[in-house]
């Protein structure tokens, strides 16, 4: 509401700026210069210069003659004094300022502006609690709606991933099942269902979950998530070779730019015995009990933390080597290269550390 009040005040001020001189009429007309003023001043200037001896007497008189001639000419041509005001045009202008101006301004502003959106300066936003309240409220709304219309498949399909994200896993399982029932079966939904079942079971691929993945693959043999979890299931069943075969098959079939590629590569490297990035003890143990998604998230988080730490203090050569190796294992050559360059810059002030770094990089199979 205040906004509209401010708009109204501004508009009034603008209209006033147009109306004010109209109201003052011709009185203001006195405040104007004329050409004669300028020429008279020029004459005075010539006199002054002549007095000081800056110009000679002959020059001065010639200049005086010339300026006087202009002065005469300007007096002849002096503009006619403003005629008595005619009311008509002034009224029209005043009317336009009062009505046309606001209408014009709003007609331009309304399609362009977003008057309903408040300012959102960063400091104010940071004080707000993270947007949990609105999300929870939204979920409740959707749930209430689905309670009344339980056959709304699209509603279930929208709700399910949100529930999974907020950690209400058993509800998510139910939502996915309803989505499949009412909105149609698909490989994607089956795979998602399997994932939440496994997540609900603490990361273990239960038989129930596995059958969902198998159905998904039957619907679409290239369903990445399902294939990935089938590989994981094989590993959990103690068949790492099968797991490796599944994942390798995925990598071969998929394009270079598949977003999950680094994760699968990391998993493949792990089951094939390549050393994972060094993780603090305890973390590794904790990782055992995690779902693969959670685990890769944890690894990613630790790598990010390490990178952030090194940005603060770049002296830690071992840290840099660990970071480069981590990126390589995760299959992110671009980042590995970036880290390498940053490392060099960070330790370039110290010859010994630099040598250590270069040796380490050589051991990793990178150029020294």
């Amino acid at each position: 509401m205040t906004l509209w009040f401010v708009f109204a005040m501004m508009t009034a001020a603008a209209a006033f700026a147009v109306l004010w001189p109209l109201g003052r009429g011709s009185r203001a007309a006195l405040a104007q210069g004329t050409e004669a003023t300028v020429y008279k001043d020029q004459l005075a200037e010539v006199d002054r210069d002549a007095e000081l001896g800056l110009i000679g007497p002959a020059e001065a008189s010639a200049a005086r003659v010339e300026i006087s001639r202009r002065l005469l000419a300007s007096d002849e041509a002096e503009r006619a004094a403003p005629v008595a005001a005619r009311r008509g045009p002034r009224r029209a202008v005043a009317l336009f300022a009062l009505i046309g101006l606001p209408v014009l301004a709003l007609a331009i502003y309304l399609p362009l502006g977003s008057p309903l959106q408040d300012d959102q300066p960063l400091t104010a936003r940071k004080q707000e609690p993270p947007q949990s309240q609105p999300l929870d409220a939204l979920i409740a709304q959707v749930e209430a709606h689905l309670e009344k219309n339980p056959t709304d498949g699209r509603g279930w399909a929208v709700l399910a991933p949100v529930l999974a994200k907020t950690g209400r896993l058993p509800d998510a399982v139910r939502a996915y099942r309803n989505a499949i029932t009412y909105a149609g079966d698909s490989a994607e939904r089956r795979a998602d269902l399997g994932e939440v079942i496994a997540a609900a079971a603490g990361g273990v691929i239960t038989d129930e979950a596995k059958s969902e993945f198998e159905r998904a693959v039957k619907l679409n043999p290239n369903e990445a998530k399902a294939n990935y979890f089938l590989g994981l299931a094989a590993e959990q069943d103690g068949r790492p070779k099968d797991a490796a075969a599944t994942w390798r098959g995925m990598l071969e079939k998929a394009g270079q730019d598949a977003p999950w590629r680094p994760m699968v590569q990391a998993q493949l490297a792990r089951v094939e015995g390549a050393k994972m990035p060094d993780l603090p003890e305890g973390a590794a143990a904790a990782a055992q009990n995690m779902s693969p998604a959670e685990r890769s998230a944890m690894i990613q988080g630790m790598v990010d933390k390490l990178a952030a730490k090194l940005k603060q203090n770049g002296d830690d050569v071992d840290g840099w080597l660990r970071l480069v190796r981590a990126y390589m294992v995760m299959g992110d050559a671009e980042k590995a290269k970036g880290a390498q360059a940053e490392a060099r810059q960070a330790v370039s002030g110290n010859a010994e550390r630099l040598k250590q770094l270069n040796d380490g990089l050589k051991n990793l199979g990178l150029d020294g």
């Binding site: 990010d304 933390k305 990178a307 952030a308 730490k309 940005k311 603060q312």
Partner: protein, 167 residues
């Protein structure tokens, strides 16, 4: 002098200055302009060794080699042809593999482009205009040379701020 003569003197003087200026401009345009080529155009047109031109294209990934004494060699490609470039000096901040570049210099007898200047632009997203046009013409233009999808950049921004927030 009569009015007419004065007028003639003035006009004549102005004419002389203008004629001199036109002469200077034409002379300079003949001698000091530099053409722009891509590696493909160089390959097709058999540019003579020693003729100065500007070479534009993308720095071929993996081709940058640094030698002693600030010697740098790299390859410039436009997708159809590549041309080796030799340069001595400091490369600009924004010089990167896989990014657009414009170099000025001439070919030597061995067909290597001896660059004496390598130009970089203000913005890291910025692809030199000639390079972009040339690549577009040859059908090798990818939009992502110029613009990253907004999602990607905002994701970068958030991860960067997250990294800073962990201090």
């Amino acid at each position: 002098m009569t009015r007419k003569q004065r007028r003639l003197v003035m006009i004549g003087g102005a004419g002389v200055v203008l004629a001199v200026a036109v002469g200077l401009v034409l002379n300079a345009l003949r001698d000091s302009i530099v053409f722009f080529s891509t590696p493909k155009m160089v390959a097709e047109q058999h540019v003579a060794a020693g003729k100065r031109f500007r070479l534009g294209g993308v720095v071929e990934p993996g081709s940058v080699k640094r030698g002693d004494q600030l010697q740098v060699s790299f390859k410039v490609t436009d997708g159809d042809a590549t041309l080796p470039v030799a340069f001595k000096g400091i490369l600009p901040d924004l010089f990167r593999e896989g990014q657009g570049v414009v170099a000025e210099g001439s070919l030597d007898k061995a067909g290597v482009f001896e660059a004496d200047t390598v130009l970089a632009k203000h913005d890291e997203k910025y692809m030199p205009k000639e390079v972009a046009d040339a690549l577009k013409k040859q059908g090798h233009w990818k939009d992502d040379y110029e613009k990253k999808p907004p999602n990607a950049t905002s994701a970068n921004a958030t991860s960067a701020s997250a990294a800073e927030a962990t201090k």
